[in-house]
């Protein structure tokens, strides 16, 4: 198998001027071996539109999670959505995107602007087939994505941005396509692109959006792996084996703890070089070791890293921070799949009753970090030695 893909998602929206609730709804859910994204624009605006759109995305997401065919999803939607008293129809638009880890994409659209498919930086055409379910015409497309491709779906609030104001006919699909081509560079996150699209629309509306405006972005990229080794194995005899396994892992490699770093250094026959300039009042300095991307001290750095992860969700907030705890947190947020090798050998110095109690809490902090990362949707494996 070639390199594994990861589907990174991002979403942003603004409400029509004067409305508190957004009448669009965007939902992203992981499924076995992939991800689904559903965007719906509810009829009208405000609370009614919000309810219609939310119901649509929720129902569609749930049914697709269970693998139901599109036909049934559409039927269920038209059967269950409440009817608008004024217009006598149960109506909301939708875009359904199902992307699988092997690159297969299924797309279905009903009355939403066509999805933007960017391949190697350029908007590329999707070959739609039309299908009619009752009174509804639905566009469907199958496409294959590779790392570097993007799928961007927007509500018509984006397309109409600036209409009758800054732009006579609004932003329009073709112009958004050109704009997107300038935004989807490799380092841009899906969330950033979604935010940029919505901000741009808001600017075109001169901060008074004429419609609910939403962007949902899927970025297809190679999956990012990280392996985190902390603490020496209880059984000294396992040192070499655990270190070799650590060094064989794909992706980024991180070691925490002085003794642990020493063991790794001994195995690769290189010295750990401490970078004193990265030291702060609270956090001991980081180190450098050939073949390892980050070396930090153990318990203090990990405890601080946990504190950071509890408050910071946006990886960009950590860029430029040089202390060990922030860099460790950055590594965790950057990776999609993290394997943790936790050694539970006890450092006798840490049992000293004069030391603060938290010295003994290293394992607990590591487990708390693992749980936090899982909650954020990351794959985490924890192996205890």
């Amino acid at each position: 198998m070639s390199e594994q893909l990861f589907i990174e998602s991002g979403g942003a929206n603004i409400s029509k001027y004067g409305e508190i609730l957004c009448g669009d709804s965007l939902s992203v859910a992981p499924i076995e071996g992939g991800k689904i994204m559903v965007l719906s624009d509810g009829l009208g605006s405000g609370v009614k539109a919000n309810i219609l759109a939310t119901l649509t995305t929720k129902i569609a997401t749930r049914l697709m999670e269970r693998g139901l065919p599109l036909e049934e999803v559409v039927d269920t939607l038209s059967d269950t959505l409440p009817e608008c008293k004024v217009r006598k129809i149960a109506y909301s638009t939708f875009t359904l995107l199902k992307v699988q880890d092997d690159g297969r994409v299924y797309l279905a659209e009903f009355d939403n602007p066509p999805t933007f498919f960017l391949k190697r930086g350029y908007v590329s055409e999707l070959h739609y087939k039309e299908r009619v379910y009752g009174t509804r015409k639905i566009r469907e497309a199958h496409v294959h994505v590779d790392a570097g491709d993007w799928l961007v779906t927007v509500s018509d609030g984006e397309i109409h941005a600036g209409i009758g104001g800054l732009l006579n006919l609004g932003w329009d699909w073709e112009k958004i396509a050109k704009f997107l081509e300038t935004q989807v560079y490799e380092d841009a996150s899906a969330q950033k692109v979604a935010q940029v699209l919505v901000n741009q629309a808001n600017d075109l509306y001169e901060n008074r959006p004429g419609d609910d405006t939403t962007a949902g972005v899927l970025k297809i990229r190679p999956k990012r792996f990280a392996t985190f080794m902390i603490g020496p194995p209880v059984n000294k005899g396992e040192d070499r084996e655990v270190v070799h396994r650590f060094l064989d892992q794909p992706g980024r490699r991180i070691v925490s703890g002085g003794t642990t770093a020493g063991i790794v250094g001994k195995t690769v026959e290189k010295d750990v070089i401490v970078d004193l300039s990265s030291m702060t009042d609270k956090i001991p300095p980081t180190g450098k070791l050939d073949g390892v991307d980050l070396v930090t001290e153990g318990v203090h750095t990990v405890n601080h890293c946990l504190e950071i992860l509890q408050t910071v969700n946006d990886i960009d907030a950590l860029v430029g921070e040089r202390d060990g705890a922030s860099r460790l947190a950055w590594e965790f947020l950057y990776a999609d799949s993290i394997s943790i090798l936790l050694g539970q050998a006890i450092n006798p110095a840490h049992l000293n009753p004069n030391l603060p109690q938290e010295m003994g809490f290293k394992s607990r902090s590591v487990q708390a970090i693992a749980n936090l990362l899982k909650e954020r949707g990351k794959e985490v494996t924890l192996e205890i030695h």
Binding site: G257, G258, T259, A261, G262, V272, V274, D275, L276, M279, D281, P284, P285, G287, V295, E297, G298, V299, H300, N347, P348, A349, H350, N352, L355, P356, M359
Partner: protein
Amino acid sequence: MRVITVCVGSACHLKGSHEIIKYFQEAIQRAGLEKEVELKGTFCMDQCTDGANLLVDEELYHVGSVEEAKRIFETEILQKKNQR
């Protein structure tokens, strides 16, 4: 070139290695010895129970406070420099 190596591992960190490093940084600068004394960090000297640990060249010291570090700097670095 003389080398002072201070341990910055967990236990030594708690026992004040951070302040000790700060002290050495200032002391080396004050004495104008940047070209003659190198200050380095290391992660673990396998002496965690006796920290904070530091090496002056090859010699190991267990240092409980900045005052002790000061004494070592005066006797090991400043005095020996004058002797030469």
